[in-house]
């Protein structure tokens, strides 16, 4: 038996959230006294695959079929199921991403396994097999027992360190799951990647700079973008900002938007409504800049400045420029 980790690629590289999943998977393997194998497909270089050794992966199974270049749930599920069977995997690990959670859920049915998503801890394996997951939109945690023989875990992003055993490489083997056209009924007609200012994906960003209605209008967003660029951060916004089309919807964080859990979340001109907090409250450090000292966001913050964003943010941008990086 072994632990199997599904890794996702983007532009030839492995996504950070998948490196976190790989690190998690190899720690689980160690606890269980076995090894961790990764399964991959699509646009990932051989070099990037071999480098998974640094995260403790000993072997990578790669399906080089061109049909797998783009994400198609049914086809990906087929490949991962084949790898799981070949490796006799009893624990499968994914990133809790739109792709990872989707294939994880279908696999739970196919492999008759137990699934936990949004997982924030390593499993406890003495006695029952349990993990802790984030629930109630980040306002609580739940310990869940996975009762089936096969356990499937989707780990929350930005929650586990990427381990680095420099120089260790994984062996890469070919795998073919014989994907046919019948598996490709939901193949995308078109894929459109967003302009990510500075190339940082919001869902994976270590730092997020976010703006609310207090910024008065889209013409002032250079404040958010400039600060984000200096800090290597992704940009985000509150719901009304997306609803008014000041910013695209894929930047809207909160209860009905994206959930982020960066190391640092900087909220500028956002009041801190409970629905907004639901999407950001698992951030490790929260900074709030608001001209109203009574803004509820200060209660959830670690650092704050009571002041006018139009005066404060330019000073922050200058100070960030002066940092040696």
């Amino acid at each position: 038996m072994s632990v199997l980790v599904f890794v996702e690629g983007l532009n030839g590289e492995i996504k950070k959230s998948s490196l976190e999943a790989a690190s998690y998977g190899s720690q689980v393997a160690q606890t269980l006294g076995t090894s961790a194998t990764a399964v991959a497909m699509g646009d990932i270089s051989q070099n990037a695959l071999a480098k998974l050794g640094e995260q403790g992966i000993s072997k990578v199974l790669y399906d080089a079929d061109e049909k797998l270049e783009k994400f198609v749930a049914e086809a990906y599920v087929k490949v991962i199921a084949k790898a799981a069977e070949q490796e006799n995997a009893k624990v499968l690990v994914f990133a809790h991403s739109n792709i990872g959670a989707a294939v994880g859920s279908r696999l739970a049915v196919r492999l008759n396994g137990s699934l936990a998503t949004n997982v924030t801890t390593l499993p406890k394996t003495d006695g029952a097999f349990t993990v802790t997951r984030s629930v109630f939109s980040g306002k609580a945690f739940a310990e869940v027992e996975l009762t089936s023989d096969v356990k499937i875990i989707a780990v929350q992003k930005n929650n586990f360190e990427v381990s680095q055993n420099a120089g260790t490489t994984a062996t890469v083997e070919n795998l073919s799951a014989d994907v046919t056209d019948a598996d490709l009924t939901t193949a995308p007609k078109e894929t459109v990647m967003q302009e990510t200012g500075g190339g940082v994906l919001l869902q994976e960003a270590a730092i997020v700079v976010s703006g609310g209605r207090g910024l008065k209008g889209p013409e002032n967003w250079h404040l958010i973008e400039d600060l984000a660029r200096e800090l290597g951060a992704a940009t985000a916004c509150s719901k009304p900002v997306a609803d008014m089309d000041w910013r695209p919807h894929h930047e809207h964080v909160g209860q009905t938007g994206i959930t982020v859990s960066p190391n640092l979340y900087i909220a500028i001109g956002i009041s801190g409504a409970i629905q907004h907090l639901a999407g950001v409250n698992s951030s490790k450090v929260i900074v709030v800049i608001n001209k109203d000292a009574e803004a509820p966001f200060f209660k959830a913050a670690d650092y704050g400045i009571v002041g006018d964003a139009f005066e404060v943010v330019p000073k922050l941008i200058e100070a960030a420029k002066a940092l040696d990086k």
Partner: protein, 246 residues
């Protein structure tokens, strides 16, 4: 066009989250329950499609009798009829089995629901239903249109972008903003909802595959450290040297 919309009954978004004294269950005391906000996007889009193309919208909830006010609310918003599977929703797999059992009996063209519930945040049920029924699941989708009677066009979010997918009916999709603008029931809707059919069925004999052992809340923050606005640059120094996040 027959559309099934699955809704879950969740604590209001402003509810205080507390647990029973032994921390084994959510404390419902004094909590107002609402239709899961993500499900409202699915419900409204389903009603819009029905208004444009004809057909019917059925709402489905797996829950005990206390969820009926919100099922009635979905009927008031514009669904035609409702089914409640009379069971405590033990876990995502259990719920997916119940939905699939109802779907097998009634063969819907489209099965819609929200991307996740705001209480258990699973992001699982839609894909499980797709797998059990052997049909595509397109999740999370923020745009859904019909090309013709047999094909739909969806846009789904992937990290860092979107994919445009064309798919033959039947399929499952989960909804997120901005798929539609959720509606508030009007007086006429509320009146007619009272007489619309709400069928209660018993669960099929499915097992859960996970069990909630206990709940806890995150540690309270130590309080905010304020930096003077005139000295804003100090914040960057603190973030680097004290918080160590830069």
């Amino acid at each position: 066009m027959k559309i099934l919309v699955c809704i879950s009954n969740v604590p209001d978004t402003t509810a205080k989250i507390n647990f029973t004294s032994d921390n084994t269950a959510f404390d419902k005391n004094g909590v107002q329950f609402v239709i899961n906000p993500w499900d409202e996007y699915a419900l409204t889009r389903a009603i819009e499609l029905k208004e444009a193309k004809g057909g019917s919208v059925t709402v489905l909830n797996v829950g005990e009798a206390d969820t009926e006010p919100n099922i009635r609310k979905a009927l008031a918003i514009g669904a035609d009829d409702a089914i409640r599977v009379n069971a405590h929703p033990k876990d995502a797999f259990f719920v997916a089995q119940q939905i699939a059992a109802v779907a097998k009996e009634n063969s819907y063209d489209i099965i819609l629901m929200g991307r996740e519930s705001i209480d258990y945040n699973g992001f699982q049920v839609h894909n499980m239903v797709g797998e059990i029924l052997g049909i595509p699941s397109i999740t999370p989708a923020f745009k859904l249109d019909l090309i013709d009677d047999a094909t739909a066009r969806l846009e789904r979010e992937i990290e860092g972008g979107k994919e445009v997918v064309e798919v033959k009916l039947p399929f499952v999709a989960s909804a997120q903003q901005p798929m539609s603008e959720p509606r508030i029931p009007n007086m006429r809707g509320i009146m007619t909802a009272r007489t619309k059919p709400l069928k209660v069925v018993e669960p099929s004999g499915a097992e859960a595959k996970s069990a909630y052992v206990s709940f806890s809340k995150p540690e309270k923050k130590g309080g905010v450290k304020l930096v003077d606005a005139d000295n804003a640059a100090e914040l960057i120094t603190l973030l680097r040297n004290e918080a160590k996040v830069l």
